[in-house]
Each structure stands twice: as structure tokens, then as C-alpha cells.
Amino acid sequence: MGIPVKEIPDTSIFDLRLSRRGARMNRMCSALCSAREREAFKRDEEGFMARFGLTETEKDLIRKRDFKGLIDAGMNIYAMLKIGSATGNSLYRMGAQMRGETYEQFLATRNIKDAV
């Protein structure tokens, strides 16, 4: 048994166990670092997800744009930014959803909300 990182409330710690769980999705997100693949994803999201062997649960999280669920299922945050970019969800929009707030509610909590 290794030494897992101690848990922190309301926080996901991306370790090897989580990385292994999310491997299919993270591999798919890595592919989005190419304009051609981003177009393929936008054209046929279902076909794209099938190509990377995502499970039905994983596909459903992506269909629903359930960002908190995706993180819990092992998608790495930096991999998720690529899905965000391909689906028109900025980091701050994904963040607001993970906090359980609207985008406007989230912005209201910031020091200088124009630095986006």
C-alpha cells in the first residue's frame, strides 16, 4: 500500500488512482490539442467519445456538461479546460457550476471581475 494524499474538504486531489479511473477521458481531452480533432469533436461528439472507448456513465457526464461529476470521475482539471474550450464553457463558467452558483453569482465573489 502506498501513501495516498490526505483528503481535503471540497477538493479533488488528482492522484494515480483517480488518473487511472479517468484515463479514457483524459486521453480524449489530450486529443483536443489539435484543431482538426476539435472540429471532429464538435461535428460528432458521440462518435468522438465512442472512439476513445468512454463508458456510458462518462459519456453521460459529458453530455450533461456535469463538470463536478467529471472531476469526480477522474477527468483532470487541465484536460477539462479543453472540453470547456470546445463546448464554449470557460474556466470561470465551469467553476461557477462546480460551486453551485450562476456565473453572475460567482463573478460577484471576485476582487476584480474584469480580469478575465
Binding site: 488528482f14 494515480l16 486521453r27 490539442c33 463536478k68 479543453k82 476584480i112 474584469d114
Partner: protein
């Protein structure tokens, strides 16, 4: 005369700085405080006349995927391509490397028991490029310095310890000072400061922690090297663990290096810190 480290800079590599540069928004009220802080830094750097910048940074699943993920990866190429990290290619020129210098660093660091992944081809993204934009802006004739990218795993746990990163800096100092060519070298430690980008705690910052870290980095870096990942993540957010890369920069400097600049701005979701040292 052999090479020497002339300066070290600790700075955040917030990705939104990239588009702010590309769209010339440096003077927008929300961005001005950050960009203005770098004006004296660039004047100071111009006087130090650096030849090479060693940039300690992390990739964000652009060049490295989790199928194979190096703990420490050093670039040993003549040039580094701009990576598309999923948001399209930024309009930036390729970044020049210094392969001979990199090869020397690899040989010395491996001899000092830092078993690096050596990359003879490597794309660079915001972790590397944002600090370059801020400290060494490019012109139509390219970038003003050569570079050595040093990529650290601060994303997929287990991560190297803060002390390991600090010691890597010390080994880097030895490696630089044994290179026979007369080069002025600047080391950039990038990432952080406090931020968390996922979970219900998204957007968490801790300005008090960040100021404490800046104080300690200047006066007491040895004790910062004892920080656990857990402590950093708990107090400053999970992604704040990037701060261990600042310790590589600090370890590469003399303990008595003089602080020259310090700045802090936390507009949105990341404490954007800046600290410079002259060796």
C-alpha cells in the same frame, strides 16, 4: 569565465495573461496593475543582460499526457515549438533553446542523481510562455533570450517533494557554474500562488498565505522546503502546490541573494505573485 546565475524570479503563470498580451489589453484597468509591475523588472533584466532563461514550469496536458508523465523533464533542443493546448495556437514565434548548454545541464544533473527525462523535442505552453511574455517579451525579431524548459510534475500525485525541488535548484546552480562558456543565466520559478480550480472550493485564494510564502522565500527558504503538499493544498488550494517550483528557483540562488522586486495582485481566482532576486 564560466557561466553564472545572475537572478531568479518567482512568478505566477495564469493562462489568461496570454490572451491579455495577444489582444494588447495590458493597459485595461483590470490588467494594468499586473503588467505595470513588470516594467521595472524588465528594466532591471536589461541591465543584467541575461543570455539564457531556465524556466521551471509545468505543462497542463498539452505536451505531456498521463499515459507517460515525467516527474522532471528538461528540454535539450535548439528550439521549442508553441504548443496548442486546446484553445488554438497563440501567435508567437518559436522559442530558441541552447542545446549545448542543456546537454551540459543534463549531464551534471544526472550525475548529481537527478534522473531527468530528456526532451530533444518539446512544445511549450502557458506554464512556460506566460512568464516569458511578462519577463522577456518577444519582438518581430523573436525572443531576447535563449531558454531551457524544465518541466515538473505538480499535477499528478505523487509529486516530487518541496525539498526535492529545492535541492534540484541547488544542483542546477552547480551545473550552471561548471559550464565553461560565459553565460548570464536567469532562473524562473513559475506557478501558483494560492488557487483552486476544481470542486466546490473552486476560486479559493489565501492572500495571507501568499504573503507569508513570499516573506519566507526571501528570508527562510530552507524552512519552506519542509512544507508538505498537503499543507500547501489545504491552506492555499489544490493547484497552489505549483509553488514548489519556486523553490527550485530559490535553491539555484545564493542564500544571501538580494530581493529586488515584489508584487501581488489577486483579481480573479489566483494570487498572482512576483518576486525577484539578484544573485
Amino acid at each position: 569565465m564560466p557561466s553564472r546565475i545572475v537572478a531568479g524570479i518567482g512568478l505566477s503563470h495564469v493562462p489568461s495573461v496570454g490572451p491579455a498580451v495577444d489582444r494588447k489589453r495590458e493597459q485595461d484597468p483590470a490588467w494594468k496593475p499586473l503588467f505595470d509591475a513588470y516594467v521595472p523588472v524588465r528594466e532591471w533584466l536589461a541591465k543584467l543582460k541575461p543570455d539564457v532563461a531556465i524556466v521551471v514550469y509545468n505543462d497542463h496536458v498539452a505536451e505531456f499526457g498521463f499515459d507517460k508523465y515525467p516527474t522532471f523533464a528538461l528540454g535539450a533542443a535548439e528550439r521549442y515549438a508553441i504548443a496548442d493546448e486546446g484553445f488554438g495556437m497563440r501567435p508567437l514565434p518559436e522559442v530558441p533553446g541552447d542545446a549545448d548548454f542543456s546537454i551540459h545541464l543534463c549531464e551534471r544533473l544526472v550525475d548529481a542523481e537527478f534522473d531527468l527525462t530528456v526532451c530533444q523535442e518539446m512544445g511549450v505552453e502557458h506554464g512556460f510562455l506566460v512568464p516569458m511574455n511578462l519577463c522577456f517579451p518577444h519582438t518581430t525579431s523573436g525572443w531576447p533570450v535563449k531558454t531551457v524548459p524544465l518541466q515538473v510534475n505538480v499535477v499528478q500525485h505523487p509529486l516530487p517533494t518541496a525539498r526535492r525541488c529545492y535541492r534540484l535548484g541547488q544542483a542546477l546552480r552547480d551545473a550552471v557554474s561548471s559550464y565553461p562558456q560565459d553565460l548570464n543565466v536567469v532562473v524562473l520559478g513559475t506557478g501558483g500562488m494560492s488557487h483552486q480550480l476544481q470542486g466546490k472550493r473552486f476560486g479559493f485564494m489565501n492572500e495571507k498565505f501568499d504573503h507569508w510564502f513570499l516573506d519566507e522565500l526571501e528570508k527562510n527558504p530552507e524552512s519552506l522546503a519542509s512544507l508538505s503538499h498537503h499543507k500547501i493544498m489545504e491552506e492555499a488550494g489544490a493547484e497552489a502546490v505549483e509553488l514548489i517550483m519556486w523553490l527550485t528557483m530559490r535553491g539555484a540562488l545564493s542564500p544571501k541573494a538580494k530581493r529586488r522586486h515584489r508584487h501581488y495582485y489577486a483579481p480573479m481566482t489566483t494570487g498572482m505573485g512576483l518576486i525577484t532576486f539578484e544573485d
